[in-house]
């Protein structure tokens, strides 16, 4: 910890440090870009992964907290805080040319806080309509519905974009631009489209059947969860996590609970930890089965979809018996889990892990081995390992590019360090590899379940927690491996019973960021399969 402090203060003497959950570096805005460039490019530092970008409103100033990770330095995480006092026209230098993942992340920050990023290529709103008045996550946002009524007319000037370019003298100039060229043939895919897995909207410039450029238009299910969370108590915000990535409900909730527990310094009973991990893995199986089904269906192999759903129902039965619901289980709570396991739990899990290998064989027979499926998925949607790191594509999609990024291995949390499982890696860098990682992860999840199902310790299912949960002032960032990648939760507390700021760093948000990169040069039909193999869940992106 101390050597990283030395190195950073040698590069940029103006910084100050704050200790906390992880090291926080206060960087003055004018120095930020050059520091970021050194952090990224210096081979000894090698902060190649931008884990999270959190916009903040500290009332007297606006700013951004960047969480940088160095994959070569044991995944060391350092936070950098950049703030500006100007509330009217706040500007921060963009780092989207260093970490491409910051492209969409900074657009999100602009959307919520109105912070303009200098040299960002495309400073449009991301989630809200382009005629939206105000920046909703600012503490002084005027929520009067008169300002932003339900508009039933379409958005105009969707093609217009703007960027703030800095010249050599340091003067910032506003440069308007267009997303597409005037003679591009733009096909609109979504928001109501069967294969966007929700309400994502892609605008694809095509040349014949070949895709030239994809513009991602998001926000068709943006519900403002982060703003809502600021007004609720900690136990109340838990239920939002189930409704973001509903296919990773348990993992997301696990992450948020673990983050709050870390802040409270709470020790979780062993039984609760085992139950949580088992539920996480069951959720992963259910999610990957759905992903298999949807990939098959998007390719037109409808029958395979039904086979995937057939096994998924078994997992849902297990959830229903213990948690009381098929989806949106609301099972993890602060300190443990809400209810004890159903007496049938062990029997059902055993039945599932017994049946899965033969069913996986069936899937491979019906779909994976099919020559058409192979031709449709192989060598399509190329994403190199460097790009995967730069765009922060974690989860099965990143591992399909040969990037070892499984949070359960790199930052072992809960009881994962004691378990024997393999991190699934494929090196094809194409849609087929991503698909295969998922199928093989089902096997690994079954392996984890098999280790735990007979070893669930007795004991309490919940730790004792105070009636009113208050976190001490400070900030915490916690990550777990959700079904689709690394899910992060950022909490900043000012000591009240509701959080000052909650940010959810969802894996799917980064996944759509590579749609343009992976689809360009392939065909319209490939756009669908690439999307299916990346497997994003839209409510997780929009939040």
């Amino acid at each position: 910890m101390s050597d990283i402090k030395d190195i950073i203060s040698r590069i940029c003497p103006e910084v100050t440090f704050e200790e906390g959950d992880c090291l926080l570096v206060n960087v003055p805005e004018p120095k930020w870009y050059s520091l970021a460039k050194t952090l990224k490019e210096d081979p000894t530092l090698n902060f190649d992964l931008l884990s999270a970008v959190v916009g903040m409103d500290w009332k007297e100033s606006l700013g951004v907290v960047y969480y940088l990770t160095s994959t070569s330095r044991q995944w060391e995480v350092v936070a950098f805080k950049v703030s500006v006092a100007d509330r009217e026209n706040p500007m921060i230098h963009s780092v989207s040319d260093l970490w491409h993942v910051a492209n969409f992340q900074e657009r999100e920050v602009y959307d919520f806080y109105g912070i303009k990023f200098i040299n960002h290529p495309d400073m449009r709103r991301f989630f809200l309509r382009n005629d939206w008045v105000g920046f909703p996550l600012r503490k002084d946002y005027d929520a009067n519905p008169e300002l932003n009524p339900i508009r039933l007319e379409d958005e105009v000037n969707e093609d217009d974009t703007v960027s703030y370019v800095e010249d050599e003298k340091g003067k910032v100039k506003k440069v308007p631009g267009k997303v597409f060229e005037a003679d591009d043939y733009v096909v609109n895919i979504g928001p109501q489209h069967p294969s966007t897995h929700g309400v994502m909207r892609f605008r694809a410039a095509v040349d014949g059947e070949t895709v030239k450029k994809v513009d991602v238009v998001s926000g068709y299910i943006h519900r403002g969860i982060e703003k809502l969370s600021e007004g609720l108590t900690y136990p109340q915000i838990l239920h939002f996590t189930d409704r973001m990535d509903y296919m990773s409900a348990h993992q997301n909730r696990h992450c948020l609970c673990a983050c709050i527990e870390k802040a409270m310094g709470l020790e979780i009973p062993r039984r609760a930890q085992v139950i949580r991990v088992m539920m996480d893995e069951l959720m992963r199986i259910s999610s990957h089965l759905l992903s298999f089904g949807c990939t098959a269906m998007d390719l037109g192999a409808t029958t395979a979809f039904f086979y995937g759903f057939r096994e998924r129902e078994m997992v849902l039965d297990i959830f229903e018996k213990t948690c009381g619901a098929r989806m949106s289980m609301n099972y993890n709570v602060i300190g443990g889990v809400i209810a004890d396991l159903h007496p049938d739990f062990q029997k059902d899990v055993k039945a599932l892990i017994e049946i899965m290998p033969s069913r996986l064989k069936e899937y491979h027979k019906v779909f994976t081995g099919n020559v058409i499926a192979q031709n449709r998925l192989r060598k399509v949607g190329h994403l190199s390992k460097e790009d995967a790191v730069n765009y922060a594509i974690t989860g099965p999609s990143g591992r399909g590019s040969g990037w070892s990024c499984d949070c359960r291995k790199v930052h072992p949390y809960s009881i994962y360090s004691e378990l024997d499982f393999e991190e699934v890696l494929e090196y094809g860098c194409d849609s087929f590899s991503r698909y295969m990682v998922r199928m093989r992860e089902i096997e690994q999840s079954c392996k984890i379940l098999a280790q735990l199902v007979d070893n669930i310790p007795d004991g309490p299912i919940r730790a004792q927690v105070p009636k009113i949960i208050k976190l001490p002032a400070g900030r915490w960032y916690n990550q777990v491996e959700a079904s689709r990648g690394t899910f992060g939760v950022y909490i900043e507390s000012d000591g009240q019973k509701n959080p000052y700021r909650v940010h959810f760093q969802s894996p799917c948000f980064n996944l759509v960021g590579v749609m343009d990169l992976t689809c360009a040069g392939y065909m319209i039909a490939d756009l669908i399969t690439i999307g299916a193999a990346l497997d994003f869940v839209i409510p997780d992106i929009d939040r």
Binding site: R151, L152, Q192, G198, R223, G224, Y246, F306
Partner: protein, 202 residues
């Protein structure tokens, strides 16, 4: 006039008064016998051939997929011909939260549906905004912009609940008049008169 749904008892439905009121309204206008029979035939056709428009925004859409999958199998009712083009669909089942950005899209999809068309609001978010009701950009229920025929509460509603909602829609269709009075169309017109597009506020 008794509204029958196969293998469901009358008392299995919880809001029989609503349907009875509709029937009474119909009797009061005195449907002609021949037209009445023809109406019954057409209503039988419509109610047994409800093709959904695929419109899922979040979690409820996954439950809708489960509804189509092998265990629940909505094909038994003839509902499985899910159309992706609104022109060919019969009803729009709003599954999930509708936010400000989506509202014009949803309204347009509704307008693109060919008559006779129906709306089902499935899930807490579509019914009332659900847990996101207080958000800055969430519609507190789709009935702010669309005339809703059936509400299915739940978060998300179980597939059984969706079947129940669909059966309620069938019951409602069975007492509508296609020729003559067209009580439905008038109600829709009233709705849009009270929700004019340019105001669009609630």
């Amino acid at each position: 006039m008794d509204v029958k749904i196969k293998s469901m008892k009358h008392e299995d439905f919880k809001d029989n008064e609503y349907i009875e009121n509709l029937v009474e309204e119909l009797n009061a206008t005195g449907a002609n016998v021949v037209v009445g029979k023809l109406d019954q035939l057409i209503n039988w056709g419509i109610s047994n051939s409800l093709w959904p428009l695929c419109f899922g925004t979040s979690c409820c859409a996954i439950e809708f997929m489960s509804l189509g999958a092998a265990r629940y199998d909505m094909a038994r009712f003839g509902f499985e011909v899910a159309r992706n083009s609104p022109r060919q669909a019969d009803y729009i089942m709003v599954q999930g939260t509708i936010v400000h950005r989506m509202a014009p899209v949803l309204r347009r999809l509704y307008e693109q549906l060919a008559e006779p068309k129906y709306v089902i609001a499935a899930g807490g978010c579509a019914v009332s905004g659900g847990p996101f009701k207080n958000s800055y950009c969430v519609l507190p229920g789709v009935d702010k912009i669309l005339p809703v025929d059936v509400y299915i509460p739940g978060c998300p509603p179980r597939p059984e609940a969706m079947f129940y909602g669909l059966m309620q829609l069938q019951r409602k269709i069975k007492v509508q008049r296609f020729f003559g009075g067209v009580n439905r169309k008038e109600k829709i017109k009233d709705f849009f008169n009270s929700h004019p597009e340019e105001q669009g506020r609630y």
